[in-house]
Every structure is written in C-alpha cells, then in structure tokens.
Symmetry: C2
Subunit: 360 residues, 2 copies
C-alpha cells in the first residue's frame, strides 16, 4: 500500500512578496490553475485514492491545506505544532503511518516543487515503490543535472543494483550525499557525470524509516515513541507539542541520508524544478517576443527579458527596462535584478523589522 | 492693483501614475507639505490679499481647487467648460478682470511649477509689475538656462530697456520666442548666452492683453467680447460653453508672443523648474548616500540613483537596481529607466485604451 506524504510546512521566503508568512509558496498558483500543493496532490491522485495521501504541515497552514485540497480527508492532515526541519516532519508522518500499516511504502515529497513530465515522474515513483517494497532500503529520486547549480544538494551515484523490481528503471546505490556545493565543486560534479541533484523525494517502507531513525537519530526516535502512544487520544496534540519543543532542527539529509548505508537512488528525468526563486518563472511561464514572462495586466515600452507578476485588478507599467523582476501585490511592489533573485530572502530579513513586519 | 492669475487646467501626463485624469500634477504634493498649486497660491499670498488672486481651471477640477485653496473666494475660480490651450485660458481670465479693473496688472502663472528661491521670484515679479504698470508691454520672466534643455521654449534676449521702474532688475526687449528646439539648437542657444528659458509667466495690464488679443487673435477677441457681455448674468456659463466650442487650441506663445513686438523680458534666477517629469524629483527630494530619492516606505539592497515614490501604507522593495524610477500607487506600479521619463506620456497613451482606461 502506497502512502504519499506531502511535506507542506515551508515558508518560501524567496517568493516574497507573493509568498507571505501566512501564505507560503506551496499555496501559490504559479500557472493560474492550481497551486504547487494542489499539483503535487493531483499527481498522486493518479496513483492512489485520497485516503492514502497524507499532508504534514504547520498548524498555521492546516486550514489552508484543507481549503486547497477539498477531497483530502481532514484526518490525513498531520499537524506540526511548530517549525522544526524535515527529520521531525518525516518522523511524525512515519509515526502516524506506523499505526496504519507498517509495511506500507511512503513516498515522501516536498509540496512546492514543479514537475513538467508527470508520466515519467510517476513511472519512476512506481519503480521506486517496487524497489522499496522488497528491500530494506530508502530509495531516493536523483535528478540528472543540466547545469552546475549551487542551490541544490547532490547525490553521488554508486554501483548499479541489479535484480531490483523496478520496471526497467536503473537503480543505483547512493554513494554519498553532499550539501550545496560552491560553483567550482558543482562544475566538477557536472563534469564527473555521476552526480545527481537531490530532489528531496524519498521512498521507503514505514518500518525501514522507523529503523533508520532509531539507528541514526535515537533522540528523535524516543520522542516519536512517546508520541506514538498518544496518537488518537485526547492528549495527542499536547504530547506532540511537548515533544516538538525539544526536537532539534535537523534535515532528514543531515540526520539520516548522509549517515545511512542503505540508500538507493533512481535517476529521474521528469522536468523537476524546486521553483527556488522568481527567475524560475521565466522558464515556467510563456515568453513574449521580447523575452518577457508576464502574469496580470501589463503595459510596456522597450521592456525585455523581464518577469512581471501583477494581477487582474492592478496594472504594471514599464518603460526602458530589461532583466528585471517586478512583482506587485496588494501592498508591496518588489523590483529586483533578475540575477539577484536568490537574495530576495535577504530583503525579507529587512522586512521582518518591527515597523515593516506587516509586509511579511 | 495686482491680479495673480493661476492657470490650473493642465493634465500632467508625464507624472502618471500619480497624476491621473481626475487628479493632475498641480494638485500633487511633491514635498509632502503642499501641492504645486498650493505653493503657487502661497507665494502670491505674500504679495496681495486673496480676493485679488484668480485661478482658471477646467470644470472637472474646480472642486479640487476649492478644496485645496480654502481661503480663496469661490468666485475667484474661473471655470473653463472644456480644454482649449493657454490663449483661451488667458483670454477668459482677462475678460473677467476687465470687468474688475482694466488698469490692473495681471501676473499670469502656471500652477504646476516649482520655485526654490521665492524671495528672488517675488522681487522679479514686483519689478515686472512696475514695468508693466507704466508701459504698454507684456513682461515675461526669462530663466537663465543652466543646460541645453530641449523640453523648454526659449526667449531671445534683445537690447536692454533703460529707464524702466524695475527695482534694479534689468529689463530687455524680447527679440523672439522659439518653440522647443532640438539638442543642437539648444546647445547653440546656451553657448550664445543671450537666450532665456520661457517660464510661461507673463505680466501685463489687463487692457494691454486685451489689445494684444484684438490685434493678433481677432477671432478669439470676438468670442471674448461676446462672453464679456454675459459675465455675471444667468447665461454666463452657457455662453462661455458656446464660445469655447469654437475656440482654437492655440498657446499664448504661438498666438501672441511670437507675433507681438511689445514683449519685454526680465531675467530671473529663482530656482525655477517646470517639474516636467519624474526625474526632476531627484533634484527636489533629498538624496540618500546611494543617490536615491525616496518618498514613502522603502527597503532596498544594492539600490542606487533611483527615484522611489510609494506611500505610507504600502512598501516598495528593491534589490540590485540602479537608475530607475519606481512609482507605486493604489492600483498601478510604474518602473521606468531614469533617462526615459519624458516618454511616460507614451505609456499613458497605451493606458488610454478601453480595457485599461480606468488606470488613467
């Protein structure tokens, strides 16, 4: 039995001012049809019925998840009382699912990524599920890199694992996880040809994840053990809160993946993008003949290679500009050089000052 | 008796999106204290009592004039029923004033200019009034040019007129009015040293202006004659409307100044600026150490030489930009290269399309 576990607790500061503290990136509709969360949910709806799909999110976003995913049983929204990192998030989901079916296979995915070739993605997920079902391994999806990105973690592809039931997909041992590299290192990885981008997508049986946590994160394991005893009881939420207070902010990559030796990786060429910053929209939205990607009402003279995000009730007007990102919201306008969009999170730090806090 | 006549019927498209069809430039507060119209009125309040100050404006703006100039008697707001040009506007004011005092001296000024050295301005106005009182001439104020501006008309300074009562100011014959020149011509003017910018400020007795209109614009004179008969009667407004319908759109410069030979000019170094476009604000507003002139809430990283105009309830955020003008209003944001601000009126032409008209 497959359990997609969608992680939807992030904040997405790099998409400010559209993403806000109360309305982060995963809830945004970048293509004007569905939010990234809705798209993530829809992809898995093709694979399993709704009652098998789980969403883990922060308590401040649980209503929004409920509103955006109307077909999802509310009980499938697992609520974190405060922000920790992915290790706690995945640990909590694993704990809930261990009460449902220990031999079930979790497909743990971020809620805020874009996938353009969905069939290829699902085929790879199916292969990963087949592999995870019969091995005591955690299977990751590795994205074939197309450029030396410094914003991604990388997975070193080890020797091939033959004999896996993987529908023709090749399965490799993961020979190492690395943090985000500098440019020189990233270029080496790309040239070496045996490094893959870490998609943050993990597929494994519930019991395998429980064991990995017990082995590599014993403190987290003890907290989850305690939580497990209270699931379904009136004390559930207060116990989770109590345990969360003491949990460390550690990513699953750092807490488990970099240490465990039972990690497999399946290369996946599914048009994956983590939608990490505004300039990505330049590749996701259609471009006009001047290279502009426009959402909302816009008039321009001599405007080229810009990303312009407005709305239907407001107007963005541009004159004599190029290579800029202009984002207009109800109360904020941001103008940013296109190649500086990674620094938007630095702007957000300034906006968090007391007198401007309402704009975050 | 001095009659300041403030012309306040313009539209000011180059300050879009702050200036709008219903709220043109003269009503904007560029310095956060008073509008250009209010500043114009205040300057003359030092010279004459309010009942001698007249404002000519379009009917759609008369309420706004009334609201901004609370001390002005409402009867001193002369209302044009439709947009003509400065010849009709000045003609109408002259007609009204000829019913008040024919030997009075009008000081005709635009409502949307900025003057930084007000004492010098008033001293020059006083000199011009003295001269206009005793000659049958129209006195203009000529601004000593500091750069070869192509956006201004120029006045050629002729021989000096000695013996004028002008409080020590030098009075010259105006040897010619020219339209806005091209850059080459403007550079010649600047090098020649005997050209002044045409400020659009004219000082003359009421009867002198009436005669000039009669001589150079006989058709306008006939319309004004007709209007004159109905001033103060119940038919006044409908007669003005009837006459205005047939009036030509001609500026006072083209209709009279370029033809008349009784024009004098007094050079004036009063820090005059016609506030012709957004970049002027860069010189009027204080600059921070990065060369930015900011109004309203702003956060920036690596932002230099920008003019940023927002408000107190909205935020402008900038990252990695230079030499831009960013203007944020309730419903529009404009981003414009600083040296292209003269073309904002071209943007306005696009905005006048049916589907965007509400933004003009």
């Amino acid at each position: 039995m497959i359990f997609p576990v969608i992680m939807a607790g992030g904040t997405g500061t790099r998409f400010w001012p559209k993403s806000r503290s109360r309305f982060p990136k995963q809830f945004l509709e970048f293509n004007q049809e569905e939010s990234l969360l809705q798209a993530t949910h829809r992809r898995f709806s093709a694979l399993v019925p709704d009652h098998q799909i789980y969403v883990v999110t922060n308590k401040r976003y649980s209503n929004r998840v409920n509103t955006q995913l109307t077909s999802l049983p509310p009980a499938n929204i697992i609520v974190e009382p405060m922000r920790r990192d992915t290790a706690s998030c995945i640990g909590l989901a694993t704990t809930f699912l261990s009460n449902v079916r220990k031999e079930g296979v979790m497909v743990i995915v971020p809620s805020d990524h874009h996938i353009s070739r969905e069939e290829e993605f699902l085929d790879t997920v199916r292969a990963a599920v087949q592999t995870a079902t019969v091995t005591d391994c955690i299977v990751t999806l590795g994205i074939s890199p197309t450029e030396p990105k410094t914003g991604y973690g990388y997975i070193k592809q080890g020797e091939i694992r033959d004999g896996m039931p993987s529908s023709g997909k090749r399965v490799y041992r993961a020979a190492g996880f690395t943090e985000k590299p500098n440019l020189e290192r990233a270029q080496e990885y790309l040239a070496a040809g045996n490094y893959l981008w870490n998609s943050g997508i993990f597929i494994c049986r519930v019991d395998v994840m429980l064991e990995a946590i017990a082995e590599h994160m014993p403190k987290l394991a003890r907290s989850l053990d305690r939580i497990s005893k209270f699931i379904g009881t009136p004390e559930q939420d207060s116990e989770i809160r109590k345990c969360y207070r003491d949990m460390e902010k550690i990513s699953i990559d750092f807490g488990i993946m970099e240490k465990a030796d039972n990690i497999l990786v399946i290369p996946c060429d599914c048009g994956w993008d983590d939608v990490g910053s505004w300039s990505v929209l330049g590749t996701m939205l259609p471009r006009d003949s001047y290279g502009n990607s426009v959402r909302g009402l816009h008039v321009g003279i001599d405007t080229s290679n810009c990303i312009i995000i407005g709305g239907d009730s407001k107007l963005v007007a541009t004159l004599g500009i190029e290579d800029l990102i202009v984002v207009q919201t109800r109360d904020v306008v941001m103008v940013c050089k296109r190649d500086r969009d990674q620094e938007v999170k630095e702007l957000v730090k300034l906006v968090k000052s007391p007198e401007l806090r309402k704009f975050w």
